[in-house]
């Protein structure tokens, strides 16, 4: 059975209408249908955070959202952060502080950081730890990530 449904949503500022398989997660939809491959898959059970995107302004694990659920909603993925080729402040800070190694967790990490800075302008280390604890980085860039998020908040 592969039931399809039509949904309308905004992705990175653009309105879209699509037919989606009801059996697909948002993660799969973003990667395979929208071809926005910056969002990564690392566990598909909500534990790693590699798939983090923002839905109506809030960070969510896209592997635990069904694609059909975004009907009428606003989606922001890592690809939506750059404007006209210009990196946003968090991306710049991640570069300055070498806050990544393999880069696989990075899009999810940056999305969680973005959501944090939207709700807390000047986060403490503790705020950063809390906000990013759902994003695993096996390369262990945590120390640099903390520094980068702090630095970005000051810009």
């Amino acid at each position: 059975m592969s039931e399809k449904m039509a949904i309308s949503f905004t992705v990175n500022g653009n309105r879209e209408t699509r037919e989606v398989e009801v059996g697909h997660t948002l993660l799969k939809f973003i990667r395979d249908e929208l071809h926005l491959t910056g969002t990564k898959s690392g566990c598909e059970i909500g534990e790693c955070g590699a798939c983090t995107v923002m839905l109506d302004g809030k960070p969510v694990n896209s592997c635990l959202v069904l694609a059909v659920e975004i009907d009428g909603k606003e989606l922001l993925t890592i690809e939506g952060l750059t404007e006209n080729g210009e990196l946003d402040r968090i991306q710049k800070a991640f570069i300055d502080h070498a806050a990544f190694q393999c880069g696989y967790c990075t899009p999810g990490m940056i999305m969680s950081a973005r959501a944090l800075l939207e709700r807390t302008a000047n986060p403490t280390d503790e705020d950063i730890n809390q906000a990013l604890s759902g994003n695993l980085c096996r390369c262990g860039a945590y120390q640099e990530i903390r520094e980068a998020v702090k630095a970005a908040s000051k810009k």
Binding site: G49, L64, S133
Partner: protein, 276 residues
């Protein structure tokens, strides 16, 4: 990819009608248990009934009765709702320990209790607050005390065609403080090895424990010792919890360690709420 049909509900009636008529039908709130469970083969859903955007379930308010938490309210909303922080801190703390920030943006309180994991982090807090679960369905509404809500691991009192509509933290609120203490393997995003909620009510305490029995349980023996028998040695009082719990050994901890941690956290919790 999973096999099911998806229905976005327009109102509650449609939701419980579907639940009543169809087989293998599941309400979808945050999906943080449901989707994981479907992928892992724990739930064989044929129909998914999405209730998360129903306005009547999104209510989070304080009224004459107390604090009403609609079934679609997320744990992050709960953990930051002022009346909850003021009157039911133990619940805010419990909700805050669930998963990670993005998980709590989706996860609901109703989902947490309906999933009925013995380790559900909001269950013990709700128990010590004497919360009431408002159930609705094609046969009408009913209210069940949280203390009667859980039946076994993954099982609750809901009958076919019923939904949790909201959870009420009833007035009068406790006039003492509450605390939720969670032991886990990492102290970070992790399931509870033992979770303990302690709430002071006047000069009495209520204690509930998660992950130590088939359901979250009240530590009645401890409460009795402290409240009725005036036990001043809190370690001794806490040790009576052994009569109330029957933990198992699993990947998160041994039976032995769970017994021990329940005692330690209960004692610490009582010390904490009594100091204030």
């Amino acid at each position: 990819m999973l096999n099911y049909s998806y229905v976005k509900c327009k109102d509650l009636t449609q939701a419980y009608d579907l639940l009543e008529k169809e087989e293998q039908v599941y309400p979808l709130a945050g999906g943080t248990d449901l989707i994981v469970g479907m992928r892992g083969g724990k739930f064989a859903a044929k129909i998914i009934v999405d209730i998360k955007d129903l306005p009547e379930l999104k209510i989070l308010e304080e009224n004459d009765q107390g604090i009403v938490i609609g079934a679609a309210v997320t744990l992050n909303e709960i953990a930051t709702f002022k009346p909850i922080i003021d009157h039911a801190l133990v619940l805010a703390e419990g909700a805050h320990t669930v998963g990670s920030y993005p998980i709590r943006n989706r996860a609901t309180l109703a989902g947490n209790i309906c999933n009925a994991s013995p380790a559900a982090d909001t269950a013990a807090p709700l128990m010590v607050l004497n919360a009431q679960v408002k159930i609705t369905g094609s046969h009408g509404k009913r209210t069940v005390s949280i203390n009667e809500f859980f039946v076994g691991p993954g099982q609750n009192v809901l009958k076919k065609g019923e939904l949790v509509e909201s959870v009420l933290i009833p007035r009068p609120y406790p006039n003492g403080t509450g605390v939720y203490l969670k032991a886990s393997r990492t102290g970070s995003v992790d399931l509870a090895t033992v979770g303990v909620a302690v709430q002071s009510w006047d000069n009495k305490v209520q204690v509930a424990v998660g992950a130590v029995a088939a359901t979250p349980v009240r530590a009645i023996s401890v409460e009795k010792a402290v409240n009725e028998n005036g036990e001043k040695d809190l370690a001794r009082a806490a040790s009576l919890a052994r009569d109330d719990i029957s933990p198992i050994t699993d990947l998160r901890g041994s039976r032995e360690y769970r017994y021990h941690m329940a005692e330690v956290l209960i004692r610490r919790g009582i010390e904490k709420v009594m100091e204030v």
